[in-house]
Amino acid sequence: MRTQWLVMDPAAGGPPMPFRTRVAGAGRHLPPTHLTTSDLMATTRHHTHIDLERLTGIHERRVSVGDEDSYSLATSAALDCLEKGDRTAESIDIVISCSITKFRGGLTQWLEPSMASFVAKAIGASNAMTFDVSNACAGMLTGVTVANNWIRQGTAKRVLVVSGEYISQLGQNAARHIRNIMSKELASLTLGDAGAALLLERAEPGSAGITMAGFTTVADYSRLCLAYPKGREPAARMFTDARGIHKAAMSNTPLLLHEVLDAVGISIHDIDHVITHQTSARAIRKGMAKMAASFGDMPRHDAVITVDRYGNTASTTHTVALVEELEAGHIRPGETVALIALASGLEIGVVLLNLDEELVNRYGHID
């Protein structure tokens, strides 16, 4: 019987795999319209007395004003990713779309065919295998975990993991209902729109790439956040026990991170950059403090925070932040990046990776 809680790949005692997964490109697309927290809170129907910016650290988020949807955000991010990676769409074997929202043509949610098939067609990857992964805000990292597994064993050569989240409508819906800080729709006000894409490809063993992907679902908490269409409002509404999720994530993540680090044989200080799911700046800082207490040490750099500028962009947050760090020149070739997923489910996942010089240099920062 396995003695590690996480499903981890590579697995302890697993057969050697012929390849490694290299990150060949990372792209994103942010809508140009900025919506500040104060402007959003000014639209609430009731006088709420909530200082959302102080509570979450979110100053503003980007929003589609109806001209962009999940499909167009994903497509733009995919094209950006291909350009950054200098790869053609025709060379992609598989497109995995991982968004929660699947809006195309305004606020029409497409359940069939897959959003991946739309994106593949739009970018010219017409022969690629396509399917969607749905795993709340852990969607993209779940897609990365599947793609990594297939690339390592030679099932696929190049995989595009993409997501477009046109999710800010949930915030607009929530603004009509929220009365006070105890509202279950408070988390909806943190949401922002974004597209993100990661291009993963086959590389020789020993090269830079994904070191480890580990995931679990702590399903006792699966009903703490539910989103579905309700009433006469467009899109959906989301009901969250934010405190419950935060508490569960805080108490369980250190143990799981210990498991990953033990499996890879590194210490917390060997991690250069930590990119967690972006829900609130305050929650991220608290989480890092908890981690420091548990490990008695810290990663080399403070956790990346982009939630202040972009809000919670659901499944795209890690990639949006990764691109931000690459463009800022903060990530150097070979440095270890830990992407930590915390999502409804309760999904907890860790993807450890490092980026090679070729990719880092494409963002314009050459040492």
Binding site: M1, Q4, D9, A11, G13, K121, S134, T216, D220, I348
Partner: protein, 301 residues
């Protein structure tokens, strides 16, 4: 070497749960584990490939709710044992074949020892769908790994992307209510069959086999015009292609597999074919192991 489908169970919605894909999936999953003599905690990976669900739920993954309701390691992580990872995938009637391919990868890398693929669909709720076309039904497939020369072989995929023109399902506001609607063209069956036959060609070419070398053919969806068109393109008689009995959606491949497994002998080759909206189609060979899937798989209602 390949993934073995150790047990398959089907379930149908009754008067209490015909609007709940969740409950239908849970019924199939529990029954599947019971018959296989496995504990829910044995499941390392749970992949849900169903699409039409309670209230058109968008978050979390239905798989997480299924995991909780069957009791597969739902508690806080603890040392010296393993947990369960669950998520949803969506690929229309090709979903279960996609899920099997995902499971196959993790079994092969020894990241997991035991996986459960579930698929169920039901009318999302009163007034939430316009002419919902499928019977409430679900399926669960319990999977393990074998190092022998049997189980699931490589899955071959064909894309003939048409942006949903041939078939689509959307949720959008109609008269102030979010309603699930379905659209399909008159040519959808021939388009599905065309893509499926191309996937079969690739699959058989790689295996260096002819269609007559295959002992059983199963296909999803269970549309009779699709079956007729596919039979014509594969140059086989219609009755050689096994489809599920009822008008089920993502559970149709598992339902057809059950019928094929009933008749199969050790060593038989079963050809799995799926086609769906996109248009996407997949085909794979499944070599029946010496100890095959249990016959005790009557649908639970």
């Amino acid at each position: 070497m390949g993934t073995l489908i150790d047990q398959v169970c089907l379930s149908h919605g009754g008067w209490r749960d015909h609007h709940s894909a969740l409950r239908i999936a849970v019924k199939a999953a529990r029954n599947c584990l019971d018959i296989a003599g496995r504990h829910p905690n044995d499941v390392d990976l749970l992949v849900n490939a169903g699409i039409y669900r309670d209230r058109n739920l968008g978050e979390p993954a239905l798989a997480a709710l299924i995991q909780k309701d069957i009791g597969a390691n739902p508690e806080n992580p603890h040392a010296q044992t393993h947990g369960t990872f669950s998520f949803d995938i969506s690929n229309g009637t090709c979903g279960p074949l996609t899920a099997l391919q995902i499971v196959d990868g993790f079994l092969k890398s020894h990241a997991i020892d035991c996986a459960l693929v579930v698929a169920s669909d039901a009318n999302p709720g009163r007034g939430m769908s316009e002419r919902f076309p499928f019977a409430p039904a679900g399926a669960a497939m319990l999977c393990g790994w074998t190092d022998d020369d049997c189980g699931l072989q490589r899955v071959h995929w064909i894309s003939s992307l048409d942006e949903g023109e041939s078939s689509n399902a959307t949720v959008g506001l109609v008269d102030g209510h979010n309603v699930l609607r379905f659209t399909e063209s008159d040519t959808v069956d021939s388009q599905f069959a065309e893509a499926a036959s191309r996937a079969v060609d690739e699959c058989l070419r790689e295996a260096q086999l002819e269609i007559d070398d295959v002992d059983a053919i199963i296909a999803a969806p269970n549309r009779f015009r699709f079956r007729a068109e596919l039979a014509m393109r594969l140059a086989v008689s219609e009755d050689r292609i096994i489809v599920s009995d009822n008008n089920v959606h993502t559970a149709s491949m598992a339902a057809a597999f059950v019928q094929a497994a009933d008749r199969a002998r050790p060593g038989d080759r079963i050809l799995l074919i799926a086609a769906g909206a996109g248009i996407v189609a997949g085909a794979a060979l499944y070599r029946v192991p010496p100890t095959r899937v249990s016959r005790d798989h009557k649908p639970v209602g």
